[in-house]
């Protein structure tokens, strides 16, 4: 069986939905965070897949370059790394304050 764009996209979608479910359902902040990363990787996979399966010469133009998708992936990874650094620091600070990482106990963000 030939692996086509649709397969990659399906995997990415599954990955994304698993991440989303994790974000919505899991109670531990660290797990939520990991799920969030998973969603980002789903997006990365989509970028790479589109980049790979574009008909290179036909699609190239003044505005698009199929390599753009791969470049985006690097951006996403970089931003995600920075985000992790900040986010983990916040989580540590939050833990020091509240002594918990369970989100059901962290509901002060309301009016």
């Amino acid at each position: 069986m030939e692996i086509t764009l649709d397969h990659y996209l399906a995997v990415a979608a599954v990955l994304f939905v698993i991440g989303l479910m994790g974000v919505i359902m899991r109670r531990n902040l660290l797990i939520i965070y990991m799920s969030l990363e998973m969603m980002l990787q789903a997006a990365n996979l989509t970028f790479v897949a589109f980049s790979r399966f574009f008909n290179y010469p036909a699609a190239a133009s003044k505005f698009y370059d199929p390599a753009d998708g791969q470049v985006f992936v690097f951006f996403v990874i970089t931003v995600a790394a920075a985000e992790v650094a900040v986010g983990l620091a916040l989580i540590v600070a939050l833990y020091r304050l509240k002594e918990t990482t369970q989100v059901q106990n962290l509901t002060t963000l309301k009016f």
Binding site: V103, Q104, K110
Partner: protein
């Protein structure tokens, strides 16, 4: 005053007529009201300067200064332009009025030095007097109706300030409000009159030569021919045809009558004609010098002055003139009747002022503006005298104003009493005093116009003599009726000197010094106006001063003496009033009627509006909108749980909806 030579004095000096009192006002307002002596000095000094300049301008024939253009819109073929300038008219009418305003004004300022000597707020008082002088001279010299209107409101404002000078007294505050509201109401009519004037004439200027041109070249022929060929003159070109002027009433364009009535409305308010007269007696709550200057001699005469200023237009409307004469006549007689049964010395004088103002307005309506201005001048002297002398009496008796609590004052304060006597005789029209001449001239015009006005005017003269004799006899003769009346003290010289000067003028102001008296002066002015404008008048009967024929010439004087003697017979040595006419004592119930109808109706309307405001506007619309917002906010608050995952869920749901809408709804 008719010197032909050009004066070496620069015309710009006339501006100081306005600038001097204005500067005094500003200085007092900014700083000097804390220093009463300095305020007094500034105010009296500015009044003296004004009087000096008025003398120079009048007797040295100084030409008016160049006008300063304030607003200028060019006109077109279909619409008149608007050109408002701040300028000065210095024609004989304005000069005569200026001399009276500044002269009587100066005397009242000087009198006030003594009268207000013990009042802590006298800095403020003199500030009010100065702003009044500024506004009043402004009215007199105004070249156009807008300029006049500005100063017109200015005198209303200063009148408000000074009536309410003792603002801690409720009655003074209420009287100030009443005066202001009455004047505002009437000024609304005046404004309509001014706008109509502008629409019809295409200009707002009331300069005599311009009015004369309009009148002679354009208006008069048309008014006489208007029914002949239905054509309107050039002057009214922008109005359209006679149909556009509301048709014809009394044989003249209705809009013209409308304009005359509008302008007269201004006079009705300021000169306190029926039915707006109610504010003037209440205005006596102010200090007595204010009553003398503003509410007797000058400001209330501004309405009469304004009528004389626009007189060439007034006489184009027969209906308007009839209304003016009738209202004047009604006020003259009605106010005199009320005065018969009043007990407050100032109120009697106030109703007497109303009555005399009615005389002047009646004179204008009877085609005698010269007589009106003549009477205005003599009245300014003797009425200012009477008020100041009354002030001196009140001062002597420590603020006692009820004539039944006086008595026996004649020998104790002789100077005040003698000057009061002169004022009283002059006002009554006792032969050979000033009031005699001016009143007879008015009655002569009235007789020429219609005998009805003559008879009502003569009856009013009878009443005037009656109530003035009553006032004089009760207040100055008989036994002292209260302890205060037993030991009065004569006022200081700073107060009696103005009385003496005014008394001299009250005697001689009516005399004709070989053709140079005040009466001749205004007659000359009126003749000049008629010469410039009135060639088309039907007859020459107004060119010579009218005289009462034979028997009629004796009627007014006989009635005056009869009135005086009747009153003397009734009131000599009485301690209570033998007459008790309730309807007169209650002033024909005007205040009550107004309270019930106008004030009550206004209250009810105000309550309704207040209800609408608090329930519909504020309740339903403003608070309603706020409550709807709050309710929506409360609802949305339910979604804000603080749970991170709920937010994430809602966010993803939103994303799903967006994706669905984007992909599947095209």
């Amino acid at each position: 005053m008719y010197l032909a030579d050009a004066s070496p004095i620069p015309p710009g000096i006339s501006w100081f007529l306005l600038l001097a009192p204005l500067a005094a006002t500003v200085a007092i307002l900014l700083h000097l009201h804390r220093k009463p002596e300095m305020a007094m000095f500034a105010s009296v000094g500015s009044a003296a300067l004004c009087f000096l300049i008025a003398l120079v301008v009048s007797f040295d024939n100084v030409p008016p200064p160049a006008a300063w253009t304030w607003i200028a819109f060019p006109g077109s073929d279909s619409a008149p332009g608007l050109n408002i300038e701040i300028g000065m008219i210095l024609d004989p009418l304005a000069k005569g009025m200026l001399l009276i305003v500044t002269g009587v004004g100066l005397l009242v300022h000087i009198f006030s030095i003594g009268y207000m000597a013990h009042d802590p707020g006298r800095g403020r008082f003199f500030g009010g007097l100065s702003i009044f002088m500024f506004s009043m001279t402004g009215i007199v010299v105004a070249t156009n109706l807008i300029e006049m209107f500005l100063f017109w409101e200015g005198v209303g404002f200063s009148s408000y300030l000074l009536i309410g000078f003792w603002y801690t007294r409720d009655s003074a505050a209420a009287a100030a409000n009443k005066a202001f509201v009455c004047n505002r109401l009437a000024d609304f009519g005046f404004m309509i009159g001014i706008l109509t004037f502008w629409k019809m004439m295409g200009t707002l200027s009331v300069e005599p030569d311009k009015l004369a041109q309009c009148y002679y070249k354009n208006v008069l022929p048309s008014v006489h021919n208007i029914l002949g060929n239905g054509q309107l003159p050039n002057l009214f070109a922008h109005v359209g045809s006679v149909e556009h002027m509301g048709g014809v009433i009394y044989g003249q364009p209705a809009l013209l009558t409308f304009m005359v009535l509008g302008l007269f409305a201004g006079c009705v308010g300021k000169s306190a004609m029926f039915p707006f007269h109610v504010w003037l007696p209440d205005a006596m709550e102010g200090p007595t010098p204010v009553s003398a200057l503003i509410h007797a001699a000058t400001m209330v005469a501004a309405g009469v002055y304004m009528l004389c200023r626009v007189y060439p237009l007034l006489i184009l409307s027969d209906f308007g003139m009839d209304v003016i004469a009738f209202i004047g006549c009604l006020t003259a007689c009605g106010a005199a009747l009320i005065a018969v049964q009043q007990n407050d010395i100032k109120r009697i004088l106030a109703y007497s002022t109303l009555s005399q103002l009615g005389y002047m307005v009646m004179a204008v309506g009877c085609r005698g503006p010269a007589a009106a201005m003549f009477h205005l001048s003599t009245h300014a002297f003797f009425k200012a005298l009477l008020f100041l002398a009354a002030g001196s009496v009140i001062h002597a008796l420590h603020e006692e104003q009820d004539i039944w609590k006086m008595g026996g004052l004649f020998k104790k304060i002789p100077l005040t009493a003698w000057t009061f006597l002169i004022g009283f005789l002059a006002l009554s029209g006792f032969p050979l005093l000033s009031g005699f001449f001016s009143k007879d001239l008015i009655l002569a015009f009235a007789y020429t116009h219609h005998p009805f006005y003559f008879w009502v005017g003569s009856f009013t003269a009878f009443l005037t003599a009656f109530y003035m004799t009553r006032l004089f006899v009760v207040a100055f003769f008989g036994p002292p009726r209260t302890p205060a009346a037993e030991h009065p003290h004569e006022s200081p010289a700073v107060m009696t000197a103005p009385l003496v000067i005014l008394a001299v003028f009250s005697v001689v102001a009516g005399w004709s010094f070989g053709g140079y008296g005040i009466g001749n002066y205004y007659h000359l002015w009126a003749i000049n106006q008629l010469n410039a404008t009135g060639q088309l008048l039907p007859t020459g009967k107004y060119i010579a001063l009218p005289e009462l024929p034979g028997f009629y010439g004796w009627v007014p004087s006989m009635l005056v003496i009869a009135g005086g003697l009747t009153s003397l017979w009734l009131y000599w040595d009485r301690s209570t009033d033998p007459l008790n006419i309730r309807i007169l004592a209650q002033k024909f119930y005007f205040d009550e009627i107004y309270d019930r109808s106008l004030v009550g109706g206004q209250q009810r309307a105000a309550n309704l509006l207040s209800w609408l405001d608090s329930w519909i506007l504020e309740g339903l619309i403003i608070r309603g909108a706020a409550y709807v917002t709050v309710g929506i906010g409360e609802l949305l608050r339910l979604f804000q749980t603080g749970s991170l995952q709920a937010y994430a869920f809602i966010l993803s749901l939103g994303g799903a909806v967006v994706i669905y809408l984007t992909l599947f709804t095209h």
